[in-house]
Symmetry: D2
Subunit: 403 residues, 4 copies
C-alpha cells in the first residue's frame, strides 16, 4: 500500500501525469518549528536538472503545505503537502501504447491493475518519491533538534567504480584476509558531511572516485545508455534501543524502506555481504569502555545493530540501484500483443540515478528512525512509571534511562 | 513487533528458556487440508543436530496444534501452535551475567527493555524462528496446492566459497563485461529441487562447492571459530501482479522478511549488487512472446519483479548471514560495567548457520508471498465485478483475469 | 490516527483554518468509472447552508481530484482529493484565547498536543469530515455498481421527537411486551430512499415527525440554544459473510466508524438497547426458506449480523449525536487559568447537526462495508482455488460461492 | 482479524472444542511484576458456574503462561498464555448438523468460511473471551501500578429492570426536563468498587435492583428462556490526552472493543442516547477550577471525553447485551436445506450473560486504555525533547507535562 510507519506514518499519492504528487505525514510530534524552506532544501537535492549528469526536466517541485502547522509550528495533526506536476510532457511516452518498456513497470502495472496510466508505470515513476523526501525532511528536522541525529548518504559506486573499501581480493579464502571494510572508508563514515557530499555533481565525497564516476556517467550518456550504482548512508548519534524484535528489527525496517525506492536491487548493513565471508573471530565486535564510561564496541562490523536493536554505534548501510531502464538506444523487444519490434526511448532521461537517489535514501532512513524512535520512547516512558523490580538480581536490571 | 503480514498474519512468541515457543497464524484460507506432519517436515529441517555441521542440541521441536483446524481441515480461524522447550540448559549461559557477549543481543536487549532474560538476548535466539517455520509451512502448502508455487532455498556460499556465479572480475570496467550471473547458475535456479538441496549436509546443491564448504565449516569448528555464508532462494510459478506499490513492493516485503531473520546482514534480488555495476543496455530484460502466447522476458536480471510487482518470471534473491557470534575461543571484551576481561562461550554451538537457515528463508518467503497473494486476489475479485470500462482505449485496459 | 481501513484505507487531513482539507483513498478497485460529480453529490448534502436549519456559512466544498484517475477511470492507485478552505473567518474565534469552550475540544487538544490551533479544537471540527464524505462517495459508487448495495441514512429523532418505533412503555416488564421495533419502522427501513430523505429539510422521511422536528430545531435556534438527535442508517443488498471475527466484527467496525464522527455519543445495531430488555424467545431470529431457496430470517432483531458476520438481511443501526456545544447564549465557565467567567459564542452555528450528519453516517458506513467486502473477497477467492475437502461430512462444508 | 491494538496488541486464538484457547500479548511494558495469580482473579470472575445464575459447566480456566516473563517480571517480549479446553462435551451440539441455531453464528460462519467447526459458531463462542480477559488483566495491572487507574464494570440492567438512572419520562419534550443521569447514579459511578460489585451474584451494586434482577433471571431460567441486559463501566484516574483523532478517538476505540464482545448490540458513552434528547445549554460541561488548581468540568455529560480525547474526568459507558440465543424451549426454525422444523437446545446454558460479561468489559476497556496510553506517552516524550516554541503566543502553548 501507500503508507509506511506505525506512529510516524507517511502516505504518498500521485503519478507522473496527474494534478499533483504529495503526502500526508501523520504522527509528527507537536511543537516542532518547521518551515516550507526546511523541506525545500531536500526537495531541491532530489529535483532533476541539478547538473549535467541528471535529466534537465524542470519540475520546480515547490512544496505546498496544506495542514498541520500554524505560525510555523506543528500541531501534532496530519501534515498534508503537495507538489504540482508542471512539466508533464505526456507526448514523450506515446510509444508505450504499443510496447511495454523493458525493465519498466508498464507491463506489471497492467497485469496488476488491469488499467494503465498514460505514463505506463503509474506510481513506479521516481516522481512519486517527492512526497517521501518532503516527509523525510520533516522527520530529519525532529531527529536533529531533539537528538542531534545526523543522516548522511552519498554515492559509493557508479558502475564498477567504487570508493576504495577493502583490499581483500574476492577469492582470498584464508582466515588472515583483511577486514571487511578499509580504515579509510570507516573514517569517511565517521566524518562525512552533507556539504562534502554536495561538492561534486556525483555526490561522491571521495574526490578521486567522484571524478572517475563522472566520466563513467558521461560515457553512458554518450552511448545512449545508462549505468547503475550504489548509495551508502550513515546514521550518527542514534540512541540505543531502537528496533522492534522480531519482525521489525531496525535493519529489517531499513531494508524494507530502501527496497521500496524505485530501481533498488539490494541492501546490506554493516559488513553486509562481505561479512558473510569472514570468520566470527574476525567479525565479532568486542565491547570496550568508552571515555564517558558507557559501553561501546571496538569495531563496528555489526553496523550499529545487534539483535535488530541499535547499540549507539553508527548505523551504516548500502543500497544497490540498477541502471535506469530508459535508454535512448534501440532495443529489440516485443509489443503487448507479442509482436517482435524495436523500441527507443524519446525525451531526456537520467543516465544514472544515484546522485539524485541520495536525498531519497536519507528521507527513507529518517522516516524509519523516526518511527522506531517514537515506539521506543513509548516503552521507555511506560517502564519509567513502574515501581522498582524487587525479584531480579541487580545485574539483570538496568535503571530506567532518560528519554 | 512480533507480527508480520496484513491478511496472512503471523505472530510469534517465546524465548530460549521459557515454557514454549510458537505462533498464531491468522488469515489462513479455510478448507485447506493440513496435518501436523505437513508442518513437521520443515521443522525437522530447521532443527539443530541434523548433521556434524550443526549443533547437537536435541530440541525435538514437535509442533502441537492448538486451534484453527478440525478433522485435518483449516477453519479459517487462527491456527495456534507451540513447540515445548525441552533442552534448555540455562547453566551454559551463566557467564553472561557479567559479560555482554560480543555481537550478540545481550547488551542491546538490556538497553532496550531494561531487564534481561536469563538467556541474554531474549527473542534474538534462533529458537524464535521455530514458530516462523511452522507458519511458513502452512503458507507453502496453500501456495503449492492452489497455485503450484515452489519455493526452494539453498546455500550459495560459505565463507569465500561461492557456487560459481559469474566470470566477471570485480574490477572489469568495460561495457563488454560478462553478464551478472552465469548460465550455469541460472540453470540451477530453474531446476533445483528440495531433494537435491538436502542431499548434502551443507544444503548446497552444487556438489563440488558443497564439499569445499563442508571443509570450510569443519575448519571453523576445529579452530573454535565460526563462518558466515549466503542463502539463495528461488520462487517459481508465481502469478504476475503480486506486490503493493509503493511501500509494499514485492522486493521490499521480501527484504523486510529476510532481514528479520537472526544474523542476516544483506539482501539482494535478481542481479542485485552486481546489477548496480552494469549498463542499462546489458541489464534490461527485453520482452518476448512465450510459447503459450503470453509475454515473458528474454533475460531475468530483474529477478521476477518490475516496479515492485511480480511479472511471472522466477523470483530469486540472496541473503547474507554473518558468522555466528558464539565461538568457543577466548575473546577480549569488556563486562557490563566496563571492566576489561576475556570471554569464551561454553556449550555447543553451530559453527555455521546457513544450512539450517535454508528452511527459515523458505518460510519467510512463503509468508510474504501468501500475504501479497491474498491482497492481490481481493483486488482482482473486486475489479472483476465492475461494468466494462467505456472511456478508455482498448490498449489501456486488460480484461479481468481468472483468479 | 488519521487513517481508517485495511485494504480500503482512508487518510484525512486538515483543520478548520488551514489551506485545505482532504483525504487520500488507498486501495480503491481499479477500473471504476468515477467523476468528481459522483463525489460532489454527497459533498453538497454535507455542506452547511442547505436550509434554514443549518449554518449559513458558504463553504462551497468543491472537490479537487489530484491523482489515481485518468479519463474518469480509477487506476487502483491512491486517489488524493482536497477541498480548499475558503470562508475561514478566524476572527470569530478570538475569545477562545482565554476560554476553553465548554464541551468543545479546545481544552483536550491543548492537553494532548501542548499547542493549540487558532480554531481551538483543531481536527475536531466537523470540517474534517469533508474528506470522509468524499471517500465514502467513492466506496458507495463501487458498492452500488458491483453489488447493488444501498446505504441510506436518515434523521430518526431530534430532541425527544422520535419517529414512532415501538409501542412498548419503558417500564413494561412483562414477557408479553411488544416487539422491540414497530412494524411501521421496519417497513420504513425496507423501503426508504435517499430522495424521500431529502424531501424535508430535517432529512426525516416520516413527514409528521419531520415537521415536529423542524419546530424543535427552530425553538432551539430561537433560544440561542441547540438540540441533539439520532441518525438511523440501513444497508440493503449486502452479501453474507462480511465482518472479521473476533475483533473486527461487522458491528464493531461500524461502531468504531460511527463513534469517530464528531459529536456522537452512542451506537446500536438491530434491536440495540431495546433488545437488551427482552427475552431470547422474543429476540431470536428464526430461519425460514426464502422464495429463491436460500435461508433468511423471519425477523431481523439481529440487524443483519450474527457472530459479527453479515447474514444477507438488512443491516440497520442508530447513532446518537449530542446537541452542538456551540451556543450563542452566555455560559458560566472558567478560563484556561481557572478564572471564573462567562462565554457566549459569536458567529453562526448549527442548532442541530443531525440533518447534515446523514451523509457523514452514510460515508463512514460505506467505508466500513467496502473494507470488509475486500477482505472477504480475498478469502473467497483464495478458498475457491483449493482442492475439494475430502475429510469432512458434507453438512460441514459449503461449496465455494461466486464472488 | 484476531488482533487488537497498535502498541499493546492482543491476538487471541481458539474455538470451543479445540485443544486450548489463549492469546499473545505483545507490547507489554518491561519490568512489570506479574504472576499467574494476578491474571487468574479476573479469569475466575469470567468463568461459568460461579452461581446459580450462570451455566454450571466447569471449565476451570487455569492460565498457563508460556513466555515473556522470568522470575515474575515481564521482559517486554510477547506474553503467550493458554487455557486448556477440558470440558468440551461436543455431543451436546449434534443437532446443529441439521439446523443453524437461530441468532447464533452457525449460519454466518458457514457462509463466511465454507467450513463449519463442530461447535457451529466457531470463534463466536464466549469461550474465546478467556484470552481477552487474561490480556486485560495484564493491562489493568500496569494501569493500576503506573497510574492508579481503576476500571470497574457492573450490571446496570437485566431485562427492563434498570438501576435508577433518570427521572425523565421518555416523552417529556420540555426544555425543563431533568438531567440525563440521576445524582444517585453519578454517585455510584464515582464510588463503586469491585468488591461491591461482586457482593451480589448478579454483579449489580445497587442492592434493591440486584434482587429484582436475580428474580428476573430466575424467571427466564424457569421458562426455559433467556434475558438480556446492560453493563456499565467507569474508568477513574485516567490522565488527560488519551485518544487519537480523528479515527481512533477514545470513544471510537471503546465502541469498537465493546461491540467485538459476543452478544453486544449497543454502546453509549457519557449521556449517550439520552444526551441526544436534550438541549446544548443543559448538556454542555462548564469548566471550573479544581481544588488542586487544574481545570475540571462541573458536570460530566461528555463522559470524560471531548473531541475524542480524555479530559481527566471519569469515563463511563454502557454496553447492551442481547438475551442469549441458546434457549431450551422449542423454536420453529428451518434447517440448512430450508426444511421447516423445530429446535430445542440441549445442555445447560446461561439464561443471562451480563454478570459474566462484567470482567470481559473491564478487560476490553483495559486493553483500549493501555494502547492509547502508550501512544500518547510516545507523543509526550517526543515533544518534551524539542526546543521551546518561540513563534506562538503563550496562550497557545502548554509546557510539556510530566509523563
Amino acid at each position: 500500500m501507500s503508507s509506511y510507519g506505525t506512529l510516524f506514518r507517511v502516505t504518498t499519492f500521485g503519478e507522473s501525469h496527474c494534478a499533483s504528487v504529495g503526502a500526508i505525514i501523520d504522527g509528527c510530534p507537536p511543537g516542532l518549528e518547521l518551515s516550507a524552506d526546511d523541506i525545500q532544501v531536500q526537495m531541491d537535492r532530489r529535483r532533476p536538472g541539478q547538473s549535467d549528469l541528471t535529466t534537465p526536466r524542470n519540475e520546480k517541485d515547490r512544496v505546498l503545505l496544506q495542514s498541520g502547522l500554524e505560525h510555523g509550528v506543528t500541531l501534532g495533526t496530519p501534515i498534508a503537502l503537495l507538489i504540482r506536476n508542471e512539466d508533464q510532457r505526456p507526448h514523450d511516452y506515446s510509444e508505450t501504447d504499443l510496447y511495454p518498456r523493458p525493465s519498466h513497470a508498464d507491463y506489471t502495472y497492467l497485469e496488476k491493475y488491469g488499467v494503465k496510466a498514460s505514463s505506463g508505470g503509474g506510481r513506479s515513476s521516481a516522481r512519486e518519491t517527492a512526497g517521501r523526501v518532503a516527509a523525510g525532511a520533516i522527520a530529519e528536522r525532529y531527529l536533529k533538534l531533539a537528538h542531534g541525529i545526523e543522516i548522511i548518504a552519498f554515492v559509493s559506486s557508479v558502475g564498477k567504480i567504487h570508493i576504495p573499501v577493502s583490499a581483500a581480493a574476492a577469492d582470498d579464502e584464508s582466515d588472515d584476509a583483511p577486514e571487511p571494510l578499509s580504515e579509510e572508508f570507516r573514517k569517511l563514515l565517521a566524518t562525512v558531511s552533507r556539504e562534502e557530499v554536495d561538492k561534486h555533481a556525483t555526490r561522491c565525497p571521495h574526490p578521486e572516485s567522484a571524478e572517475r564516476m563522472k566520466q563513467r556517467i558521461i560515457r553512458a550518456k554518450d552511448a545512449a545508455d545508462s549505468i547503475g550504482g550504489t548509495v551508502t548512508c550513515v546514521i550518527r548519534n542514534l540512541p540505543s534501543g531502537l528496533g522492534e524484535p522480531v519482525f521489525d528489527k531496525f535493519e529489517a525496517k531499513l531494508a524494507h524502506a530502501m527496497l521500496s525506492i524505485p530501481a533498488t536491487k539490494g541492501f546490506e548493513i554493516g559488513s553486509g555481504f562481505r561479512g558473510a565471508e569472514v570468520p566470527g573471530s574476525k567479525h565479532n565486535d568486542a565491547f570496550v569502555r568508552r571515555a564517558d564510561g558507557s559501553l561501546g564496541t571496538q569495531t563496528n562490523w555489526s553496523g550499529g545493530v545487534q539483535g535488530g536493536i541499535t547499540n549507539r554505534e553508527d548505523v551504516y548501510f548500502r543500497v544497490a540501484f540498477k541502471p535506469p531502464a530508459t535508454i535512448s538506444q534501440a532495443q529489440a523487444t516485443a509489443q503487448y500483443d507479442g509482436t517482435a519490434g524495436s523500441l527507443a526511448a524519446r525525451g531526456r532521461h537520467d543516465p544514472c540515478v544515484v546522485p539524485r537517489a541520495v536525498p531519497i535514501v536519507e528521507a527513507m532512513a529518517s522516516i524509519v528512525v523516526m518511527d522506531l524512535l517514537l515506539i521506543q520512547k513509548s516503552r521507555q516512558a511506560a517502564a519509567s512509571l513502574l515501581p522498582p523490580i524487587t525479584t531480579l538480581p541487580a545485574t539483570m536490571v538496568m535503571p530506567p534511562k532518560a528519554l
